[in-house]
Symmetry: C2
Subunit: 636 residues, 2 copies
């Protein structure tokens, strides 16, 4: 058996510099070739030489207003009481943009001209060059219009045309080839058997390359065979400006990227001080840069951002595109291990005027954490983390305006919130409902701490039998709070189709051999389970699998569907979604809690409108196990 493999922790900036140096030493070109493109095809490309104007714009002295062109000298002495008359020949009618005729050098606005027969009457003298756009006012011939290394936008190509260009010399798009590796990897669209995974990384890396303005080619998947990987890599290196090898970048039994790169060319870096993304390979094969990306999707995505994107921009002779940035207050403590840049995905919300960042799950395998993220926060290698409430810089993945127009829901997970999110967006693209699932109790605490607009809750108070309100009093006591009913829903035991183990209810959970899958502490469903166990005097550790915690109803159902558990408490809709059996346990209300003033907030108005809509109610009932009679009713 292998001992701990030798992977370094090279700081990101150092790794990038080492990679660039190694590429230069291996003879990789500093820039991709320059090509001459017509203006209409040059948009988004980077200039490969400075663009000098060869023509002035406007190319003549031009009228800047509709009116008459005159000689300023002819108007000397004109005034309210001493009007002067200009005969035809001493003035000429011009429209905006017309060239100034002959030796005329000023324009009088149409509104200030009166006519006495053919003669134009002026009641004010006119300074030379009044309302005239001088030749070259916009750009003079021989002026530097754009420097080399400038990424062309719409106004740039138009200005280049005005300055006399019909085509421009620009860098061609860099070409990126992506080579997926792994015995267990299957192309998207194919059936995956046990232990097999889909090649989502190649799709993502190609898409990232396209977002960076490159051409991307996805190669066929190679198995974990160093010879085949080497052959494919060598063939690819001759065809592209950057080769990305996917997975196999660590030092496991089937990880060949580092050794292949070392054998065929230069291995510059193996392992960077970045998390997620640690096992990165940077090198060159022949005269082509090679990036070995880790197989975890978040690692792969960040590796592209941190290493491939700046390298590719450099090949175009341009700086890497940068993300806008904002300051936000951290919702909770954020621990981070020293020695690694920690890239944390965060949700952002503008609650009570302040921008608040809530960290998302940090696993390198949780791609949805990147999908749902509004921003990225880097805890630098030298820090152990941040305190709650600390102000941090966040790189934005969504527009700050859109973030400000987002209804932030934190609390219990329910499919109805998902349905509402999509329905709101469909009605008005400017409305976003973002929900984070931290359980009912976590939602109330988030509301107390000013982290969300609404908290979804279905917390049973065992002593009173009442739902949510006793907890609102406990967590938010003394505040002016409103509670709006969302739905009633059926909770029950989600079991295999046909209930083969014949689970009858909570009483059976202590049955030996029955594998339960639980929800996390603070979840309303967990409270319900604990209550039901307690009143039957069943001890938690008598329930096999009690320690396995999932964060959503659907994750519980997924575990049952996969045969990794025999049952778990959850809503009917989740069981239905997987075609599973369902043993009813209780019906419970699910409510939305918020500050009372939020009821009047414009931001939330679309949500109240939605809850009143009969179409929405019937689509909720279509999920199964939901009652909408009280939907939208204020209960506190």
């Amino acid at each position: 058996m292998a001992t701990t493999p030798f992977i370094h922790d090279v700081p990101a900036a150092e790794a990038l510099a080492a990679w660039r140096e190694a590429c230069a030493a291996a003879g990789c070109p500093a820039r991709v070739e320059a090509v001459r493109l017509p203006l209409s095809a040059a948009l988004g490309r980077v200039t490969a030489e400075p663009v000098w104007a060869t023509r002035s714009s406007p190319p003549f002295d031009a009228a800047a207003m509709d009116g008459i062109a005159v000689r300023a000298g002819d108007t000397l002495g004109a005034g309210e009481t001493t009007p002067i008359l200009l005969d035809p020949g001493s003035y000429e009618v011009v429209d905006t943009g017309d060239p100034l005729p002959g030796d005329m050098d000023a324009v009088v606005m149409r509104e200030h001209v009166h006519y006495e027969g053919d003669a134009a009457e002026l009641r004010a003298a006119v300074p030379p060059y009044q309302h005239v756009r001088s030749i070259g006012e916009d750009v003079s011939a021989a002026e530097l219009l754009l420097p080399e290394g400038h990424r062309l936008r719409a106004m740039d190509v138009a200005a280049a045309a005005a300055a006399g260009a019909t085509d421009l010399v620009v860098r061609r798009r860099p070409v990126v080839w992506v080579l997926p590796t792994g015995d267990e990897v299957r192309p998207i669209g194919e059936h995956t058997g046990p232990g097999e995974i889909l090649d989502t990384n190649s799709l993502m890396l190609c898409a990232q390359a396209e977002e960076a303005g490159c051409e991307a080619v996805q190669m066929p998947i190679e198995p974990d065979d160093p010879e085949r990987i080497a052959a494919a890599a060598r063939a690819a290196a001759g065809e592209c400006d950057l080769l990305i090898l996917v997975a196999g970048s660590s030092a496991g039994r089937d990880d060949y990227t580092a050794s292949v790169v070392e054998r065929l060319g230069t291995l510059a870096v193996h392992g960077v001080a970045v998390r997620p993304g640690h096992p990165v390979v940077l090198g060159a094969i022949d005269s082509t840069p090679v990036l070995g990306a880790p197989g975890y999707p978040v690692s792969a995505a960040l590796t592209f951002d941190i290493f491939a994107a700046p390298l590719l921009a450099g090949l175009e002779g341009s700086g890497a595109r940068e993300r806008p940035r904002a300051r936000a207050r951290l919702a909770r403590k954020l621990a981070s291990s020293m020695g690694m840049d920690d890239w944390v995905r965060v949700r952002l919300g503008r609650v009570g005027g302040a921008l608040v960042a809530t960290p998302l799950p940090r696993g390198a395998g949780v791609l949805t954490s990147l999908v749902r993220a509004d921003g990225l926060l880097v805890v630098p290698a030298g820090l152990e983390g941040h305190h709650p409430g600390e102000e941090v810089d966040v790189d934005l993945l969504r527009g700050i305006g859109e973030i400000g127009r987002t209804i932030v829901a934190i609390g219990s997970h329910d499919l109805v919130l998902d349905l509402a999110a999509s329905a709101l967006r469909a009605t008005d693209p400017d409305v976003t409902l973002a929900s984070s699932n931290v359980g009912s109790l976590g939602g109330l605490v988030a509301l107390r701490d000013g982290l969300c607009h609404v908290a979804g809750s279905h917390l049973l108070d065992p002593s009173s039998g009442a739902y949510t309100l006793p907890y609102v009093e406990r967590v938010l006591g003394g505040r002016d709070v409103a509670v709006v009913r969302l739905v009633h829903r059926d909770q029950g035991l989600i079991v295999a189709p046909g209930n083969p183990l014949d689970v009858g209810g909570i009483d059976d959970l202590a049955q030996p051999g029955l594998r339960y899958v639980n929800r996390q502490r603070g979840a309303g469903t967990r409270v319900l389970l604990d209550h039901e166990l307690a009143r039957r005097e069943i001890a938690a550790d008598a329930v096999s699998g009690y320690a396995r915690e999932e964060h959503t109803h659907l994750a519980v159902a997924a575990a049952v569907a996969a045969g990794r558990a025999d049952c778990g408490l959850g809503v009917l809709a989740a069981a239905r979604a997987f075609g599973l059996g369902f043993v009813p346990v209780a019906q419970e209300p699910y409510d939305l809690v918020m500050a009372a003033e939020a009821l009047e907030d414009q931001l939330l108005a679309p949500l109240w409108e939605l809850l009143a809509s009969p179409q929405f109610r019937s689509s909720v009932e279509g999920l199964g196990g939901y009652g909408t009679d009280e939907m939208g009713r204020r209960i506190l």
Copy 2:
């Protein structure tokens, strides 16, 4: 003659709402059609329906580390002094991502396993689900992955693949047709005669549509003939989702857009309270939205941003893309007339830690003001402007990081600065030199006010005959200032080729009939002229054209080249650029002034390196009329 035409001042938001209403009433579709695209083709498109997961990811409980899979229950009691041995069969070697075999429910990291023969020795008990990625950890089947109306990024398509999708239902790209009009408008690439202009607006508007993710089609230019414009517009309306008519949107003699739209369909708005951009036409022909854009290029560009972009995003079911925003301190007073949103282009610079915004020329015809702008600042209709030093919100056109890495030069114009800007960028894409031309004196004042890093100056002090230093003392007295020589340069009278009027020098400027073109007050060249006139006792008003002020050497040369003036004072390089004659008047030093501490600033280091480079010196000498012997020498 027509009286003042009837154009309204409809506030922008109201105008957009009225346009949308009119479009709905005319039967324009609310959304473009949905199409089903493979994932790899869906990047950048907007979802037309919610994306629900049909597959969990990971689809099985998987090892999250390289190591061995075990049953947690088998490890109870293991400790440093009570190791336990697991026989083969009770453990299985797994790599990251492998499914957990059989009923195994935890993973021990490779580093923590020792082997005694075949048996694995553990010195710590393992909790259930340690180092296991639960089925559905990333996404559970039946979960809402993406709402309707979501613009797809790389991570979104990858997550959709992981969640079981192979294609997605998205909105097709909206199609924009652009119809240029005007007798004087010529296609790009054609020769323009007197009074003719190039059709740069269609190029720009098509490019803006492409930047907004649309397909764009540029139509042939139609002359100012309402029948032909109407026929072309009606034909186009059937083919596209938005028709843009270029120019003719005002109420001049040849402005037909409003009447054509009114005749063929609905004229919703004519004239908006936006500057530049006031004469905008918004309406619909048949069931297609129509935008009549003004002919001034800055107006056309802003009109697209303010009206077309949100309409097109709405057709995709998405919110309009937004620009990042920053707060900046205004460099100088900014006046604005009430009643109009005033869109001001600004340069931004980070000088001494603060972000400072300097307004650029505000003419609607100055497209280069948009090219050179780092941001846009809107002075709302209700304000008369801003005080100097006031904090304002700026929409960014360049990344804030790039802006922070920009050397800001304000002062006298010289071609050598243009050359330096391009050479710096070519060497390192991360370095930008942005220079604004406000004349030598303006540059020193800007430096004093903390608006720039360096000020280019060649100010003659007539009493001492010395250049720049006396002014530095006057404007920046008491500060620790450094002055670095850039070049010596030849100033002289720029005249027509072959000097047909036989201009001999300054003495001839008062010659009757000779048309001079001047530089603006505060320009070093203007100071030089005034000095030369004064010592000859020639009065300024004896010089015909003394009042015509241009802001650069090249603009002076352009005026002479176009025959609008007979001569003007400027540098040899400008005369050469236009193939003009040149009558030497003086040789003068051109210097860079800065705070002494700036010499040590990392930001400016590339500039000093450049000035020391022999290649750069020789390319400067190639311009003609420049001496580089003292280039880079600190003279104060």
